[in-house]
Amino acid sequence: MSDLMIDFTSILTIIFVVAGIFFLLVGSVGIIRLPDFYSRTHATSKSDTLGMILIIVGLIIFEGMTINSGKLGFVLLFILLANPIGAHALARAAYNSGLKPMFPDNKNDKTEG
């Protein structure tokens, strides 16, 4: 990695992108490990949104003040609105169609897996 240009914006970009990849990894592990559908929606809405915001902010810092930076800002705004709305819509659909949450006295549900 000798062509890694060391200046301030590159270091800031590397910090943001690595932090974002860490949060995306946390979201993926949460989708695998959490026990219930309603708790899996937490992993896919909050942690993934934070990771994507960090990565795209890092790319905006690397880009500078150009037109592509503005387009990346629009992508960031859209993700910030759309990802929690999608997760909320899925959870609402599951609740309306009768999927029960996992409680400690609800042993015989079929949502665990």
């Binding site: 990695m1 062509d3 890694l4 240009m5 590159s10 970009t13 590397i14 992108v17 690595v18 974002g20 990849i21 995306l24 990894l25 979201g27 993926s28 592990v29 989708i31 695998i32 559908f37 899996r40 929606t41 992993a43 896919t44 993934d48 990771g51 994507m52 990565i55 795209i56 790319l59 690397f62 880009e63 037109i67 592509n68 387009k71 990346l72 629009f74 992508v75 859209f78 993700i79 759309a82 990802n83 709305i85 999608g86 997760a87 819509a89 899925l90 609402r92 659909a93 599951a94 309306n96 169609s97 009768g98 999927l99 079929k110 949502t111 665990e112 897996g113």
Partner: protein
């Protein structure tokens, strides 16, 4: 800086492959939908990083916007379909 974006894209591809387990194994249909939603939203970031790897971010950012809107519309449509009362959802498929 190119190699950094390349390695980030490779690691992000491995991370994207993880929720496919939930899509294949998920007990209910909503678990599969959450898995596909997670894959689609992480792919947005992957397309941005690929744009920096190929040094054509002016082309790839438009693809990113279109892909984000398509994934969001698809997710909302499937959620509205399953939310209607006429649809009979089996939870053990």
């Amino acid at each position: 800086m190119d190699s950094f974006f390349l390695y980030s894209a490779v690691i992000l591809t491995i991370i994207i492959a993880v929720p496919a387990y939930r899509v294949m194994k998920g007990p209910t249909v909503f678990d599969r939908l959450v898995g596909t939603n997670a894959i689609a939203t992480k792919t947005i970031v992957l397309i941005c990083l690929i744009g920096y790897v190929f040094d054509r971010i002016d082309m790839f950012v438009d693809i990113t916007l279109a892909y984000a809107i398509l994934g969001f519309i698809g997710s909302l449509t499937i959620a509205k379909y399953f939310s209607s009362e006429k649809t009979d959802v089996r939870f053990d498929d």
